[in-house]
């Protein structure tokens, strides 16, 4: 074990630092709210430091995906080890963490957005203790999802996020928060239980040789699930392109699609976004949505490559629907936050379209788009938060002419909006272009129609910009102050990333490249290999 701090691996640190912070927050007396904020900020800054350390020490040549020796920062320990009686078999659940080029951008994104989220939560004035404790718990859950390689562990982290999210929306949210919170909870739980069933079916289908005893043992190891040789021939998910493998792929797809969210499972998102407090919207759009697409790339596609290739076209169609439907809905909104929420649906469609193409450009574009959308959308929600804090309204039509009143704010918002439109020189341009480029090779017509989305995005974004910043400043907004120092602390890192990745996308593309190449190659090789045998 090379990368350790105080004898504990980097990935454990980065995952459980927020839990440490949570414990500290819980121990702080109720009255000293400042101490809680600083603790939360400290925990997320340390997390960011670890993310930076991991990025610096990351070896871009190693592929990962299905080969444990090519994973980095691996930590493996036995969590549950039960030498059961004969009929039960040996139960092993591992604490198995590791990252490759697919998880690295997500880790960096999670740390960055978590930090920004704490800064954006500075004004929370109700039950701060509970807020920051839950926030940090949520942070651990998110980070854990991106580093876990044992499916049971993955599922644990995946589920642990639900509770804090429910409370964060439900207690600190807007007027319809109860409805939004329970809707979010029910939707995501429905998705999770589908994942649970598939996980169990995989568990009973896959067995590997125990290195110590030599007996065949069922396992939750995701990498073992990717190897077709490990499937028991008579098990439910064994065989090639069978009925149950298709069913499992679709169940898993629905589970992850609810999180992305993909049409028609998206209806929780606008409600949750509108009601959630600013920082939670930022987290929700910045990180949580990416878990769905990360789940596709980490679990669905490599484990069911046969089904993935079979359903690639429907996936692309869904991506197209997301892009256009999301953009059209966004255009119709007058609530600023809802507008951004629908634009998220549209932008996540680009990710889906890119990864459905299953070629290097498409998948790289998709993953880069996950990162870029996380950053840009976080900025957009912060932008809305800033104006809502001041004016206590989110109606796009209520504003006008703010450009003179709040020049710095206007500058920030323009950067964010143009990044979202995909202006060359800003980050989303690169990722959208790569996604469309990849998709065009595989699904020409779908991509051509989907590119209408770019036009629509430009349309609603520019129109919004015009309604808010140009024209006559209404009398009542004459006293609005410009962004303050704290808000700048949240904006500046995101803006730096947006511009940096617009100019030098390779700093992120380079470490991802080997892994994603390998992923594409693996899915095609195993997927067609399986169907060829059939």
């Amino acid at each position: 074990m090379q990368y350790q701090f105080l004898g504990i691996g980097y990935l454990t640190w980065i995952t459980f630092l927020p839990i440490l912070g949570m414990i500290v927050v819980l121990l702080i007396p109720r009255a000293s709210t400042n101490a809680m904020k600083w603790t939360a900020l400290g925990a997320t800054i340390l997390q960011l430091v670890f993310a930076a350390l991991i990025w610096i020490n990351f070896n871009p040549a190693l592929t990962g995906i299905n080969d444990v020796s090519k994973f980095q920062f691996v930590e493996k320990a036995t969590w549950i080890n039960l030498q059961g009686v004969g009929w039960f078999g040996h139960v092993v659940i591992e604490y198995f963490l590791g990252i490759d080029g697919l998880s690295l951008p997500m880790i960096v994104l999670t740390s960055l957005i978590s930090f920004v989220g704490v800064v954006a939560s500075w004004n929370i004035n109700k039950a701060q203790k509970g807020y920051f404790a839950l926030y940090l718990l949520l942070d651990t859950g998110m980070m854990g999802v991106f580093v876990a390689l044992d499916m049971f562990l993955f599922y644990m982290f995946w589920e642990i996020m639900l509770l804090p999210m429910y409370f964060l929306i439900g207690i600190w949210g807007g007027p319809r928060r109860e409805y939004a919170a329970i809707k979010f909870f029910l939707y995501t739980l429905l998705g999770s239980v589908l994942i649970l069933l598939v996980m169990l079916a995989l568990y009973f289908s896959v067995s590997i040789k125990d290195p110590v005893t030599g007996q065949m043992t069922h396992t939750f190891n995701m990498l073992a699930m990717m190897n077709p040789a490990n499937y028991d021939p008579n098990s439910i998910l064994g065989g090639i392109g069978t009925y149950w493998r298709d069913v499992a792929f679709i169940a898993l797809f629905i589970g992850f699609a609810i999180k992305v969210p993909i049409f028609p499972f998206h209806t929780w998102l606008p409600d949750a976004h509108v009601e959630a407090p600013t920082a939670i919207s930022v987290i929700l759009a910045g990180v949580l949505l990416k878990m769905g697409t990360y789940g596709f790339l980490r679990i669905s596609f490599p484990i069911f490559p046969d089904a993935m290739l079979k359903y690639a076209f429907p996936l692309a169609i869904l991506g197209f629907i997301n892009i256009v439907y999301g953009a059209l809905c966004a255009m119709a909104q007058t609530d600023f936050k809802k507008l951004i929420a629908y634009s998220s649906i549209s932008h996540m469609g680009v990710v889906l379209l890119g990864i459905a193409a299953m070629n290097t450009q498409g998948v790289s574009g998709g993953v880069l788009q996950m990162f870029n959308h996380g950053v840009v959308t976080a900025m957009l929600f912060l932008v809305v938060g800033v104006i809502y804090d001041r004016a206590h309204t989110r109606g796009v039509n209520d504003f006008g002419g703010l450009a003179n009143q709040m020049p710095v704010y206007t500058g920030i918002m323009t950067v964010a909006f143009f990044a979202a439109i995909g202006l060359p020189g800003l980050s989303e341009f690169v990722s959208e272009m790569l996604s469309y480029l990849g998709a065009f090779q595989t699904f020409q017509w779908v991509t051509i129609f989907a590119s209408i989305g770019i036009l629509l995005t430009a349309g609603y974004m520019l129109w919004t910009l015009q309604r808010v910043f140009l024209g006559q400043l209404p009398e009542k907004w004459k006293g609005l102050p410009d962004v303050n120092g704290r808000e700048l602390v949240a904006f500046v890192p995101l803006m730096v990333v947006v511009i940096l990745l617009g100019i030098f996308p390779s700093i992120l593309l380079h470490p991802m490249n080997a892994s994603l190449d390998h992923l594409v190659d693996f899915v095609h090789r195993v997927g067609t290999g399986l169907t060829a045998v059939k």
Binding site: G86, E159, A181, L196, A201
Partner: protein, 498 residues
Amino acid sequence: MAQTIYESFGYLLPETMLSIFFILTLMTALVGKRRSKYLPAYMALLGIVLAGIFVFRQIGVDELVFSGMYAVDPFSWFFKVIFLATGILIILFSLQSRELDAVATKYPEYFSLILALTIGAFFMAGSSNLLMMYLSLELVSISSYILSGFTKENARADEASLKYVIYGAFSSGLMLYGISLIYGMTGETNLYAMNQAIAVGNIPRITMLIAVILMLVGLGYKISAVPFHFWTPDVYEGAPITVTAFLSVTSKAAGFAMLMRFFKIGFIDLTAAPAMAGMWGIFKGLNWTDIIAVLSVLTMSVGNLVALWQSNMKRLLAYSSIAHAGYILMGFVTLTNQGMSAMLLYFVAYLLMNLGAFYVVMLIANKYHTENIEDYRGLGYRSPYAAFALTVFLFSLTGIPPTFGFIGKFYLFSALISTHYIWLAIVGVINSVVSLYYYAKVVRNMYLVEPIEKSRIEFDFGSNLLMTLLVVPNIALMLYFTPVLSWAQYSVTMFGLR
């Protein structure tokens, strides 16, 4: 096999100890101040602890005593531990109950009845003879009739008790009829002999199936499976909360223990060589697993759907406990040891989360004088710790990580998936999503709704300690469940069967 009565008594020490303390507890009414609740309570606790010592000396014992009447095996051992733990917790809860103060002069009777019910439950878990089964069932039933109507000045409690008696009498009558049919066909009341008689003899399968269904009426009534559940909400609402909590765990677990033993010993085809160890075959033509699968689906769906509309906390937990009976039954459909060990694991989880929930409900009823969910508004701000504990228990009942309830559900579903009962697993998971709605409704009232009154109400140290003792395993056992799982696996062994 211990044959002589003298030898057999050696295996009956826990039950004997409980019986002695049943009488001693009752006799505390004669000495000292009659109004003291502590003397009988401590006497009963002492009885349980002493019985517990004898129970723990029975680890690994696998015997059939009193000429095949009663089995002392790992399976019954498991349930005995569950009953003792529940007994201890219920006595501790009862000491804090305000409701029972209405009948303060009757504490000796109350605590001795708790012991009586525990003895009955012990016998239910171990009996391997139809007559013994019936007698122990009646012992549990009669004790619970009295307990549920214990606060007799309360009209609702009277109604509950009467309903309970009528339903109980009816269903145990039907069960007796089933027993008589089985006896008529096989000439045996011993379960092992009955199994052999079915295996060799030419038993009419249809009549046998009818007898099985009649038996299921009695057993289904005890575990409150739909459609034999109608008594449950009324009794659970009317009875004192401590009694409700007691019935929901001990009486239900005993019913399940008896059901599992009856079917596993009575109806497994021992000659059908199992393809894999841990799988059972059943006699051809006796497809009781299908009946149980239907029963399970009905039980959890009705329980969950009706719970959605409840506004009384006790009634909500009553329907939720019906739903949980449905989940547990799923494990039995698989006909494997794996499914059965999942059921046992679930009982441990169920004990922790259900008793915990009832305890907090009782504490809240003590201080806030309400069981109405609407009145739980703002509890998260007024009594933060109790609300937190209740939240843990409710999410554990839902089965969401990081709680032990998740592990319970996880193993039930894994048993179903490994035996390819996919449809049942899907019904199960959809049910647990539905259940989230009503559990979360309580949590919503506690946290998401602004309190009308802001004053804080704290609980005393003892209550907080007991809540902590129940909260900690609910989370800790999720993080490390190896011991419980291996215990549950070990405990599926019944006498004479592997």
